[in-house]
Amino acid sequence: MGATASQLDKGMLSEYQELTFLTKQEILLAHKRFSELVPKEEIDRINCRIPMSLILTLPELKSNPFNERICKVFSTSDIKDGSLSFDDFLDLLSAFSDSATLEIKSHYAFRIFDFDDDGTLGRHDLEKLVNCLTGGTDDTNLTPDEMRQLIDNILEESDIDKDGTVNLSEFQHVISRSPDFVSSFKIVL
């Protein structure tokens, strides 16, 4: 069962409405935008996957420093190349939608920030995260001293069991006290 390029039928539409946090309009709009990205040859293939390079041409993701991580996290392909099917695309939009719960958002945020996919945010993950936040160009980078201090402080504030990494529960604990997270973790098509 997948999405054909022509139309979504009513059964699938209501199923998606039940399983994701998107409304009917949002699902139809997502379908339209997804079909525009599908290359001409594969337009009739059911359940086609769009490669990451095409997904990154979407204006909502183009300039985001986390765009590649987002594709890799939501991709369910076996070769882990970041390609998205329509179901994965809906998953992405649902996690970033207005009505998604804090638990879902924090879960996916954690996975996006976990650059090395080891299940926790270690020092290297945090370093890469801060570099993404500050742009990574030379004049906006933090000095190595500042970076080390920053990461030490972050770990001191959020690592409760003192194992040197931030795991999912600790991350969710920090996020639950941050009221701006829900409003900033949103992408609207």
């Binding site: 998953d91 299940g119 993404c132 500050t134 920053l150 770990l155 920090v174 009221p179 900033s184």
Partner: protein, 825 residues
């Protein structure tokens, strides 16, 4: 269980597998250590494998997945600057230990499907149990309250390493036994991919079908099933309808994409105010304007023609229209009995009583009262929700962690804005880091005194300026009042000139509102504030002080001077005059805002770019613009009593203002560089809307209704002592007509007129608040205890890992000895 972990298996790479790999998950440590000890005794068969193991053990570089933290467990290299590393971790961990560490439940909790399935199995079980005895806890979100977080987050390992199929089956079983709504909520909230959720749903529905298609079910529960499906379907279509109505969605997305959430919050606040006004307008239109429009009263003879000035001054032609209080009649409107034969005199009263009657004065009183009451409830509800979201219960400050984890605004799309945001993030991180790390400089007494003096001077300037404004408004209004008295006594006055002169006071007030915040900014520039949020609050406080005092003086002028002796200025209907004044103030405020936006911001941008040579456009001052909106809304709320169509004017004004502001922001401004805590500021704005603004307006209106005698010759409350008596009279009439309803009258007399119950109500309210604050205190203590507990568990974990490692070391040592013995022989 032991079979899951096998030393003999060839280890991939450096012995690390991603935690998404289901093997080796949920292995308990004790068994492992026991196994290791047993394995240590049977060495023969393991020799060759041990050799392989050893060679991999000394792989120092174990991929990028390992942290080198001074305090961490897994330190492989020692730090270059000789910082103290944990003495327990000087040797590299064995690959076996690494494998265990990488598959620990605390690391796999988010990634492995099995863990998620177990977790949601527990949640659905709790939900099922709870739905049988008491209502289920709907909110599973990670609030700061640990008592709720504790539910359902129990150890996933309790079920043991069952296969995923079994876990999935049990979860499906639980899902089936939940109600439809709960089931959907559970499915939606699971952090699995859509494909997996489709599978679960399919399995759940599959087993459902035989039950529902069986004919043994009585028709009433089948009916219930159909009703539930129909309700769900209509709820979905209602939600999509609401979503398609989204006002300005595209424009808001562009603004958010370019400027971020801070500037967007101003436009969302504008939208909220628009909805409040729409609600007010609908209520007054349906209950006041429409009935009166269907039964127009007799108009006075002189009715001026429409001139252009009337749009701004609201007087002239508009005086005797639906717009103002004076137009509304005070009798009970009845439909005429035209077309009926009056055969006898007795049929006429029958005709009258059978038709619908509409008591206008009562309707006016109740409509205004009810709309204020409902607005109050909506405001308090949104304020408390917003406050609940931003209130942090425990005192620990994790500013840096929160900033790093939640500061990236995913809404921003435009590339230049993204770059700007990155730059801002860098600056803010450096600032916060400096604040956190640096110890407070000991400022000498001279410096402290100097700073105190500077602050005092700035405050003195601001308070002096505000006082000056207030006094000038007071005297100017008195001067205008006397001028009006004088012109009232003169016989021939040009009405146009009189109207134009009425515009002087609103113009003055709007001008002051425009110029003084600039002065406050200058004063703030002179002072140096350590933290930008304090600066924002101080600016907000000063602006608020100005607006509140100006509004207070104006209210005194209207209610204390004009309403007290309306005959002084030849006023037949003082309420209409006050309504016109408010209309004028609104329009003047709008005109000045437009001029400021169109010309002021444009000129300032050109000035700062060409003359001052700054590369950047000026920042959009969110706080000041929001305060302007709140000021206008206060005027509208005060004015609803005197001019029922004022919400319509406010709606038009807000619509126009939105488009003007959006285009101005796009052309002339950029996002604010200072850190802007969106949800905290939104809470503050809603609180300001509720407390000084709405409270002040309702106090004004209540005072008017309670103590000021209405005009005797116009409006729905003529011939009454106060407006409030409309309600009282109605209750008395009810009692007269129907003695059974005397209870209502007594209740009315005791509750509404007697202040004693108000005190008792307030007392109970305060006691409830005290209880809740004690609960919050207790929860804070619980949080501190739990954090200590988790730290101790971490110490336990370290101990177990090092024990594991030492067992492995011992085993290795034994095997090495054996090998050297063998090679010796």
């Amino acid at each position: 269980m032991a079979g899951n972990f096998d030393l003999n298996q060839p280890l991939v790479g450096a012995g690390l597998e991603s935690p998404a790999d289901e093997e080796g998950v949920h292995v308990s440590f004790n068994q492992l250590i026991a196994e290791q000890c047993q394995a240590g005794e049977r060495l023969d068969g393991f020799e060759l494998q041990q050799l392989d193991e050893e060679s991999r053990d000394y792989v120092a570089e174990l991929g990028s997945g390992f942290e080198s933290s001074g305090r961490g467990l897994y330190d492989i290299e020692s730090d270059d600057d000789g910082r103290q590393t944990d003495p327990l971790v000087s040797v590299p961990w064995s690959s076996a230990t690494m494998k265990i560490l990488s598959s620990m439940p605390s690391r796999t909790i988010g990634r492995s499907r099995g863990a998620i399935l177990s977790q949601y199995y527990n949640k659905t079980l709790q939900l099922r149990r709870r739905s049988q005895s008491r209502p289920s806890i709907r909110d599973f979100s990670h609030s700061s309250r640990p008592s709720i977080r504790g539910y359902g987050m129990e150890v996933d390992v309790i079920d043991g390493p069952q296969s995923e199929m079994e876990k999935s089956e049990r979860l499906v079983n639980n899902l089936q036994n939940l109600s439809m709504g709960d089931r959907m909520k559970m499915l939606r909230g699971m952090p699995l991919s859509v494909v997996e959720k489709k599978e679960l749903r399919r399995k759940t529905l599959q087993r459902d079908k035989p039950l529902t298609s069986s004919s043994k079910i009585p028709c009433c529960s089948q009916l219930k099933y159909y009703i539930i499906i129909a309700v769900r379907h209509s709820w979905y279509s209602w939600l999509s309808f609401l979503h398609s109505l989204q006002l300005w969605q595209f424009l808001l997305k562009r603004v958010g994409g370019r400027f971020g959430t801070g500037v967007l919050s101003y436009f969302l606040f504008l939208k909220t105010l628009l909805f409040f006004n729409v609600f007010l307008f609908l209520v007054t239109f349906l209950f006041l304007v429409l009935p009166q429009a269907m039964h127009p009263p007799e108009l006075p003879e002189e009715r001026r023609n429409f001139t252009g000035l009337d749009l701004i001054s609201g007087a002239g032609h508009f005086t005797d229209t639906l717009m103002y209080y004076g137009y509304y009649s005070n009798f009970t409107l009845r439909r005429s009995c035209a077309g009926q034969h009056n055969t006898s005199a007795s049929s006429a009263p029958d005709c009258l009583s059978k038709r619908l009657s509409y008591n206008m004065s009562l309707a006016y009183f109740f409509t205004i009262g009810m709309s204020f009451f409902i607005t109050c409830i909506i405001l308090v509800y949104s304020m408390s929700k917003s406050f609940g979201r931003s209130f942090r219960i425990d005192k620990s400050y994790s500013i840096l962690a929160m900033k790093v984890f939640s500061s990236w605004d995913f809404k921003v799309i435009k590339k230049s804005s993204v770059e700007l945001m990155s730059e801002n993030n860098c600056t803010q991180l450096k600032e916060i880091l400096a604040e956190v790390v640096q110890k407070k400089e000991k400022t000498g007494p001279c410096q402290a005194l100097w700073r105190l003096m500077v602050h005092g001077l700035a405050w003195a300037i601001c308070i002096g300026a505000t006082a000056g404004c207030v006094i000038s408004v007071y005297f100017f209004s008195e001067f205008m009042h006397k001028d009006l008295q004088r012109t009232a006594r003169l016989a021939n006055t040009n009405p146009l000139l009189k109207e134009a002169s009425l515009l002087a006071l609103p113009a003055l007030v709007s001008l002051l509102n425009l110029l003084l915040p600039g002065l406050f900014n200058l004063a703030a520039w002179m002072e140096e504030y350590h933290s930008p949020s304090v600066r924002t609050y101080v600016a907000l406080g000063r602006n608020l002080m100005l607006k509140v005092s100006v509004l207070a003086v104006l209210c005194y002028h209207w209610l204390g001077r004009v309403a007290a002796k309306p005959s002084d200025i030849n006023l037949v209907c003082w309420e209409t005059f006050v309504g016109q004044e408010l209309y004028r103030f609104l329009i003047m405020d709008f005109i000045f805002t437009l001029l400021n936006t169109l010309f002021g911001e444009l000129l300032w941008r050109l000035f700062s770019q060409r003359v001052l040579g700054r590369g950047r456009k000026p920042a959009f001052d969110i706080a000041r613009n929001v305060l302007d909106l709140i000021y206008a809304q206060t005027l509208a709320w005060i004015g609803v009593l005197f001019s029922p169509l004022l919400p319509a004017v406010q709606i038009l004004k807000l619509l126009l203002l939105f488009y003007v502001k959006v285009s101005s922001v796009m052309m002339n401004c950029q996002a604010p560089r200072k850190p802007y805590r969106v949800s905290q500021m939104t809470t503050i704005f809603i609180t300001l809307l509720c407390f000084p603004s709405f409270l002040g307006a309702s106090v004004c209106v209540t005072y008017t209704m309670w103590s000021i005698p209405p005009s005797t010759s116009c409006g729905p409350f003529r011939h009454l002592g106060t407006m409030f008596q409309a309600g009282k009279r109605w209750v008395q009439e009810l009692e007269k007509n129907n003695p059974d309803l005397s209870v209502v009258a007594k209740v009315h007399a005791y509750l509404v007129e007697n202040p004693f119950f108000l005190f008792v109500g307030a007392g109970i309210f305060l006691i409830v608040i005290y209880f809740y604050s004690q609960v919050v205190d207790g929860q804070r203590k619980v949080i501190a205890l739990l954090q200590e507990h988790i730290e101790k568990e971490g110490v336990d974990k370290k101990y177990l890992i090092t024990q594991l490692q030492s067992v492995h070391e011992r085993k290795k040592g034994i095997s090495r000895r054996l090998r050297s013995q063998d090679s010796g022989c």
